[in-house]
C-alpha cells in the first residue's frame, strides 16, 4: 500500500541528489563575499525550508485525522513531523557550522532567525514525549493532532514575526532569489528539489516499514489465535490502522 512507487521515488532522489551536488561544486560560481563557504547555503537553506514545510504539512495531516478519525492520517502526521525533526536537527548543525566559518561563533543569540528556529525545534522536540506520556492510543492520537495543528500554525506566524523584526543580519533567501545570479538560483532550486525528494522518500520508507510491521504483528496474532487488535504497551508511535487480513482462502479486499 505505502510501498507503491517507492523504487521510482528512490531512484529519482539519488539522481536529483547527484545532479544537485554536481551543480553545487562544479557549476555554481563562488560567491563574492563568502567564497567557498557559501556552498553550505545549498544544503542548509533547503533543509530549513523543507523541515518547516514538513511541520506545517504535519499539522494539515493532523486536521485530516481529527476530521475523519482515521488513524492512518495520524500515522502520516507522526511520520512527517518525525522526519521534519530530523531535518531540523540537520539544519541546526549545518547552520552552526556555517556560523562558525562565517561569523567565528557556533551560535549567535542575538540573531532572531537562529533563535526562532531553535524555539520551533524545541517545541517539536516535545511532540514525542507528549505521545509517550499518553497510553490510550485514541486519546494519544487526538492530543497529538491538536498539538500538531497548534504548533503547525505557529511555524508560519514565527516566520512572519522574524521577517518583521528589525535585525537583518541573517542572509535572506525567500523573496530574494531574484537577486541571485541565474546559475546560483538554478543550483539552489535543484538542491531544494533534491532535499524535498529525499524528505518524501524517507517519509515513504518510514510509512512502509511501519505498515509492514503492523501487518506482521496482525499476522502473528492471527496465527496465535489472538484478537486482531490486542492491547499494546506504552509507545510514542501511533496505533496502527486496523489491518485487513483476509480470512483463510479469501483474498484481502
Amino acid at each position: 500500500m505505502y510501498g507503491k512507487g517507492l523504487r521510482a521515488l528512490s531512484i529519482s532522489t539519488v539522481a536529483a541528489m547527484t545532479v544537485a551536488l554536481g551543480l553545487v561544486f562544479f557549476y555554481a560560481p563562488l560567491e563574492a563575499e563568502q567564497g567557498f563557504l557559501q556552498k553550505i547555503f545549498y544544503v542548509h537553506v533547503p533543509l530549513a525550508i523543507v523541515s518547516l514545510c514538513g511541520f506545517v504539512i504535519g499539522g494539515l495531516l493532523a486536521i485530516q485525522h481529527l476530521r475523519t478519525r482515521d488513524s492512518r492520517w495520524d500515522m502520516r502526521s507522526y511520520v512527517v513531523i518525525h522526519m521534519s525533526l530530523i531535518f531540523a536537527l540537520a539544519t541546526l548543525i549545518t547552520g552552526s557550522i556555517w556560523a562558525k566559518g562565517s561569523w567565528g561563533h557556533w551560535w549567535v543569540w542575538n540573531e532572531p532567525t537562529l533563535v526562532s528556529y531553535l524555539i520551533i525545534f524545541l517545541l517539536y522536540a516535545t511532540y514525542q514525549p507528549l505521545r509517550f506520556a499518553i497510553e490510550d492510543p485514541e486519546r494519544q492520537a487526538r492530543y497529538a493532532s491538536v498539538f500538531a495543528i497548534t504548533a503547525g500554525a505557529f511555524v508560519p506566524m514565527n516566520f512572519i514575526a522574524v521577517r518583521l523584526s528589525t535585525a537583518y543580519l541573517h542572509p535572506r533567501v525567500l523573496g530574494s532569489t531574484s537577486n541571485l545570479p541565474g546559475s546560483m538560483a538554478l543550483t539552489f532550486l535543484v538542491s531544494f528539489g533534491a532535499i524535498s525528494l529525499l524528505f518524501a522518500t524517507l517519509c515513504k520508507y518510514e510509512l512502509t516499514a511501519k505498515h509492514t510491521r503492523s501487518q506482521i504483528r496482525a499476522l502473528r496474532r492471527r496465527l496465535a489465535g489472538e484478537p486482531a487488535r490486542a492491547p499494546r504497551g506504552r509507545s510514542a508511535a501511533p496505533s496502527p490502522a486496523p489491518t485487513t487480513l483476509a480470512p483463510a482462502g479469501r483474498p484481502a479486499s
Binding site: F25, F36, I93, A209, R213, A224
Partner: protein, 76 residues
C-alpha cells in the same frame, strides 16, 4: 572531455572554508547513512519475524490439513 570539464569548473579553495563545507555535507550524508542503517536493522528484524511466522504457518498447516480437506469436500 575531462580536461574541458576541469577547465570550466571553478577552483575549489579548500584552505580554510573547505573543512566547514565538508563538515556540513558530511552531516547530511551521515544522517542519511544512519537512517539507512536503522532501516537495514528493521528490515532484518522483519525478515526474521516473517521466517518465524512461516514456520508457525507451516506447522499449523500440517496440523490442520486433514480437517481442511474434509471441509472442502463437504457441500455447502
Amino acid at each position: 572531455m575531462t580536461g574541458r570539464l576541469i577547465a570550466v569548473v571553478p577552483a575549489l579553495p579548500l584552505h580554510t572554508a573547505g573543512k566547514y563545507v565538508a563538515g556540513a555535507f558530511i552531516v547530511l550524508f551521515a544522517m542519511v547513512l544512519i537512517y539507512v542503517s536503522i532501516m537495514a536493522i528493521r528490515l532484518s528484524r522483519m525478515e526474521r519475524e516473517l521466517g518465524e511466522l512461516l514456520e508457525l504457518a507451516e506447522r499449523d498447516g500440517e496440523g490442520a490439513e486433514a480437517p481442511l480437506v474434509q471441509r472442502e469436500s463437504t457441500p455447502a
